[in-house]
Symmetry: C2
Subunit: 173 residues, 2 copies
């Protein structure tokens, strides 16, 4: 009888582990796998500007960082952490010199947004994205989400900016 009870408990435990982990990951690890943003938040192109940035090197991008109303409100009020519902979008274009502008200026000085390279998102949902600091990360190239190997690189890098709730960009007045 003692053996049977032990077996039942063991079976029940295994079953519940499977039930908890299966929908999210298909793995039986203790820690849940990260969830990524796989759909582009609608209307992001009309959101309010947070700031701009240029990345050299492999990225070679000129970018605009936009926020939805919840994100902008938090930024302007200086509130951290960002509340659930905040979404930050980073629009990246190739960094290219503008021959057209330079001709008018009479010197090589002007760099503008070339073809779009990708759009990235951080979506705040402290429960859904609990394993990645409360932020869901998204990356879209030609409208298609980044693969899992790539997406797993987002959180470790952003985690370094923990004192600003994982957000690199500061608001530009």
């Amino acid at each position: 009888m003692r053996q049977i009870t032990f077996l039942l408990v063991a079976v029940a435990t295994v079953a519940s582990v499977i039930a908890v982990t299966a929908p999210g990951t298909g793995h039986a690890h203790q820690e849940a796998a990260p969830i990524f943003v796989t759909e582009i938040p609608p209307g992001y192109r009309d959101w309010t500007l947070i700031s701009v940035a240029h990345e050299e090197g492999n990225l070679n991008s000129l970018g605009a960082i936009l926020g939805n109303d919840i994100a902008i409100k938090a930024y302007r009020e200086g509130k951290l952490p960002f509340p659930d519902g905040a979404i930050i979008a980073a629009l990246h274009w190739r960094y290219v010199g503008s021959e057209e502008n330079n001709k008018v200026f009479g010197r090589s000085q002007s760099f503008i947004a070339g073809p779009p390279t990708n759009v990235q998102f951080m979506v705040k949902d402290s429960r859904k994205y609990a394993t990645t600091g409360g932020w869901g990360f998204g990356h879209f190239k030609d409208g298609k989400p980044g693969d899992e190997v790539f997406m797993k690189t987002c959180f470790p890098c952003h985690a370094a900016i923990k004192h600003r709730d994982l957000v690199f960009t500061r608001y530009a007045p």
Copy 2:
């Protein structure tokens, strides 16, 4: 009688020239002096992004170009010339390296918006700003408009982009 008629016509002509030119300029030149934008259009910081740009050299700026609803609609529909009421804002910040970001990336690659340097506007009103291609130009540093000598440099440079209705910035998708 002939002489009197001539005199009356002459007086009437002089009077109408004064009436036309006096309110705008105080001069009696044939060509009206340009009118500049001397008040910051309200709410511009919430307008929609058109594109981003970096200017090297003396300007050393990172910029965001925003548009009000009329300007954005014209951009998205590819309509030229811009209709009256369109306003384009160029927000400029000093172009600075981000030590904070570079530390995380492990290399010097990141340039961000530093302190704000100026905000510039192009306001379309084909009658009011007829002498400067239908656009009123505005430049504000610390909220104060640029002086007349400086402001007179805007139009000649923008006039080189006549095929795009004097607007340098293209819409970045």
